[in-house]
């Protein structure tokens, strides 16, 4: 009986995870609503980051740059002039927010690949962290490695 309840609740949780989506909005030619399946079908990248105890883990997911390519964000050769005044506002389920400048995430400016991760060591992200999180490899402070991302908005600094 316990096993049945366990399996049942696991199915419910799995269903909930699959219903969670990420919105990509703002300065895009094609707004996106990405599901776990959408991300699984996109080009995959990995990134390494340390946890609270200082243990390094390998995360996999989709490079923000690849999400931008699909959404039609001004990257690469288009990332010049006024487009350099664009930034990316990431919002998490707990209302935590962080920003990157668009240039920080662009392969024509940096070799660092920031990813929207959906797996850690090949498994779904742990409770309270997933289904989707940001991993910024090599960042000294982990404060932008934020959890439970719900929205990615590309915006113009207007001042």
């Amino acid at each position: 009986m316990k096993l049945i309840v366990f399996v049942f609740s696991f199915c419910l949780l799995a269903q909930a995870a699959s219903s969670q989506q990420i919105k990509v909005t703002g300065e895009v030619t094609k707004p996106l609503t990405l599901s776990a399946a959408d991300l699984a079908a996109m080009p995959r990248s990995t990134a390494i980051a340390k946890d609270k105890q200082g243990v390094a883990h390998t995360f996999s997911g989709v490079a923000l740059a690849d999400i931008f390519a699909q959404a039609g964000v001004t990257t690469g050769r288009q990332l010049r002039g006024e487009n350099l005044a664009k930034y990316v506002l990431i919002t998490c389920a707990d209302n935590y927010q962080i920003v990157f400048s668009l240039a920080e995430l662009d392969s024509s400016f940096t070799d660092r690949v920031v990813i929207l991760a959906d797996q850690m060591e090949g498994k779904p992200l742990p409770q309270g962290v997933g289904p989707f999180r940001i991993v910024v490899p090599g960042e000294k402070k982990p404060a932008r490695n934020c959890f439970q991302v719900t929205s990615i908005a590309i915006k113009f600094a207007k001042e």
Binding site: L12, K52, D94, N95, Y96, Q127, G128
Partner: protein, 357 residues
């Protein structure tokens, strides 16, 4: 360019409206004053600019019992200035004696709040204010009915005209005026502010409490991590967390807004400014005093699937601080420096019928 023209056109129309004979009123912009360290990420709307007259009207409406169906309670009944605009009850009591579902929140520094209520379901003070006014068990009166009652009072049409340019009394204007008043409830004169302005030195116990609260990197002092959520000069980051009150949350909290299972039992982090005045604590007022709150974070955080990641270790176990008695006393000494006695005695925030300033 098109946008500019539209804005200009609307401005011109508004100016013309003010010049219509019999409708001629000019209200005066209200200048909000707050310390630079509070930052300017304030939550205001273009369609409800603060004016001196609008704030004055809002203050009067805030203390107006006729906005309740029984003419017995006002916003100020459950949001009492002397308690940093709370009421000392676990649950407030509506006009019909029914207790509210959650604990009345402080109205401290609402100017910076972006999502109102414990579950963050209202994006503006305008959207928030109509809820307690019209809830059938709180003040219990439709806004249209409130407007009719106020029209019958000779004093109000002139106040609405001064605030909004015409003497029409509508539900929307009632709510807008109250929101204007609430945006002026800024608390920035606590001992902690004087500390930030370098006009006050902490006592030894306050300093130890401060160091524990925020952590003191490089000084070999352990951090209780309070500042992770209650951080910055406003002593709050506006996020939602399940702080481990229950294994199975009785109140689903943020989940009821988003429909997401990972939001179960999550509530909005609140400012700790004036916290010594706003007992009892938590969304359900379960803790009678600050000692019980610290006992919770020190010894009683409970696991549930949505427990905040900041309160659990990498193996998902709740992190218990096991604070000593002295550490708890130090933290409370620091929390007491957040009490702003000028905020709770400022005559501008008091019932204008009692205090005419």
């Amino acid at each position: 360019m098109g946008g500019m023209l539209v804005k200009y056109g609307v401005g011109l129309l508004a100016a013309m409206a003010l010049l219509v004979p019999g409708n001629y009123t000019l209200s005066h912009p209200y200048t909000l004053s707050y310390p630079a360290y509070y930052g300017n990420r304030i939550n205001t709307t273009d369609d409800n600019p603060l004016t001196v007259e609008g704030v004055a009207l809002g203050r009067r409406l805030f203390y107006e019992p006729r906005l309740s169906v029984s003419n017995t309670i006002s916003c100020g009944s459950c949001h009492q200035q002397s308690r940093a605009f709370t009421d000392s009850l676990r649950f407030s009591v509506g006009f019909d004696g029914t207790p509210t579902r959650r604990n009345a929140m402080t109205l401290t520094n609402l100017l910076w709040v972006r999502n109102f209520f414990w579950d963050g379901r209202a994006p503006s003070l305008e959207a928030q204010a109509s809820t307690p006014l019209t809830d059938p068990h709180e003040m219990g009166q439709p806004l249209e009915r409130s407007a009719v009652k106020l029209k019958a009072d000779g004093g109000y049409p002139g106040l609405f005209a001064a605030a909004f340019g015409s003497d029409a009394i509508t539900g929307e204007r009632i709510v807008k005026a109250i929101a204007q008043f609430e945006r002026t409830l800024i608390s920035a004169d606590a001992p902690y502010d004087r500390y930030l302005r370098m006009e006050y030195r902490f006592t030894a116990t306050e300093q130890r409490g401060y160091d524990l609260f925020f952590g003191a990197p490089g000084r070999q002092i352990r951090s209780a991590g309070c500042g992770n959520c209650h951080g910055g000069p406003r002593i709050v980051t506006e996020t939602y967390h399940n702080n481990g009150l229950d294994h199975v949350p009785a109140d689903s909290g943020r989940e009821s807004v988003t429909g997401m299972a990972y939001d179960r039992g999550r509530f909005r982090v609140v400012t700790l400014r004036n916290i010594a005045l706003t007992a009892p604590y938590m969304h359900d007022g379960r803790f009678a005093d600050l000692g019980q709150v610290l006992d919770h974070y020190s010894e009683h955080i409970l696991y549930s699937p949505t427990l905040s990641p900041t309160l659990r270790d990498t193996a998902s176990r709740p992190v218990l601080l096991h604070l000593t008695g002295e550490e708890k006393a130090d933290l409370i000494a620091f929390l007491n420096t957040l009490t702003d006695s000028s905020f709770i005695t400022d005559p501008h925030f008091a019932d204008p019928k009692i205090n005419v300033r």
